[in-house]
Symmetry: C2
Subunit: 238 residues, 2 copies
DNA sequence: TGTAATATGTCACCGACTGACATAGATTAC
DNA sequence: GTAATCTATGTCAGTCGGTGACATATTACA
């Protein structure tokens, strides 16, 4: 990696850290791009060459998450119920959080506190999620052998999974400075979501136009499999 | 209603209609507030006294929807499973759409086409949903007798319900100019979502810390009840 | 060292949005 | 009907986020 690349990476992080600190000190809305640029001795114009906008500073983490989910998804067996695959993908994200460097962990905690102070950011966050969701829908639809554009079941399942992640993230904490607690909460939320879904239902062979079909599903050994899945939080599958 | 009120209502609708038409003609982003204001002979400053911003024009419908959902929710029996209550609330919104005046129906169809052309608006829409969601969470949590802030199950269920609505709204149509088809799609999506959830599970008596509890639930007569619920789309309960 | 690639800064600009103030119109009291 | 009041609107100036264009400084490579 050349000098150029390294310097770029360094200033990028400098901007990010300066911004997060400013957001914590004086709030997201009250902090201007000029301030951020000024505090890292950078022209405001340059700021926009590193980040597409102020939101990018605070929403950038999400791209990484989706990437991890996509990788995990591709590694899961095709005959697995879609929501189970997505649960694994979500857990992979939490594992990545655990394995992050101390610097990234600190950034994440700051981010979390910033989100707490600015509910509007949660909205922005889900907006970004909704726009990125399509990649996941395509993947899920492909596994189920259906058309990603017209199939609503795939969209629903993905939307549920992403909602789960959001609820897990924004849920109130006792100690906001503990990354492990955040991770634990997220995993609990994922389990909660799994508990809400029909465990015996593989939507691949469910025909919504005929309401009787799902009832014929047998609550077979899937339950046992789900239990083992629930407990292997430390297992890597990506 | 005095002359003042009437005039205000009239200009408000004039602004809205002019804006929707402009959005359709030249796109949402390419349309400026000055243009909208100009086309209704209004000062740009006045525009912002009627609408909080450009998004308000396109996201305003949502407030009405949440209001209907809240009213419906309050009319549902307390012992009903939360997602069932929310399904009814969602259906109430679709019924309201059906019963809307021809003018409102036309506006809604325009809106739908605008959303199709500008995927970013879908993001903005869910952002607004996420910010409004809290009222619904509080209602659901109150019915379940739990703390709205700490209880994740209530949040999850509400998030799922709102996701359902979004998926139903944005799903591709054969005829974008037919409000009935949109309504039909939404109801199908609601049914789909209901099929994804455990029908026999009332989360009120499910303890997530003990994974064995939900398995002990019996798939009893609830299933039958759900079927009748699925078909009374034309029944008013608000 | 010289040259091409690229990162940065400067400047001018647009569009969304807001506060302050003046004015024109509608409402009410008398 | 007129005066006094309330409020809706317009004007103006200004802030902030964001972008294109162009010049310049820095790095990479031969």
């Amino acid at each position: 990696m050349g000098l150029r690349e390294r310097k770029k990476a360094r200033t990028r992080l400098a901007i990010l850290d300066a911004a997060l600190d400013l957001f914590l000190e004086q709030g997201y809305d009250s902090t201007t791009v000029d301030q951020i640029a000024g505090s890292v001795e950078i022209s405001p114009r340059t700021f926009f060459r590193y980040f597409t906008g102020k939101d990018h500073l605070v929403l950038g983490f999400h791209d990484q998450g989706v990437e991890i989910m996509m990788d995990t998804l591709r590694g899961r067996p095709t005959d697995e119920p879609p929501f189970t695959s997505l649960s694994h993908a979500l857990r992979a994200v939490t594992r990545d959080m655990e394995d992050s460097t101390p610097e990234d962990a600190a950034r994440f905690l700051k981010l979390r506190r910033i989100f707490d102070d600015n509910p509007r950011l949660v909205g922005l966050s889900v907006a970004k999620v909704a726009e990125t969701e399509h990649a996941l829908v395509r993947e899920i639809a492909a596994r189920r052998g259906v058309d990603p554009d017209s199939d609503r079941l795939s969209r629903l399942i993905v939307a549920f999974a992403m909602s789960t992640m959001r609820v897990g993230f924004e849920c109130p904490l006792h100690d906001v400075a503990d990354l492990n607690e955040i991770v634990r909460r997220m995993r609990e939320t994922i389990e909660l979501a799994e508990g809400l879904m029909r465990p015996d239902l593989n939507p691949a062979d469910w025909n919504p136009t005929d309401p009787n079909t799902p009832d014929s599903n047998t609550p077979d050994s899937n339950t046992a499999e789900r239990d083992t899945v629930d407990r292997d939080g430390s297992h890597r599958d990506a």
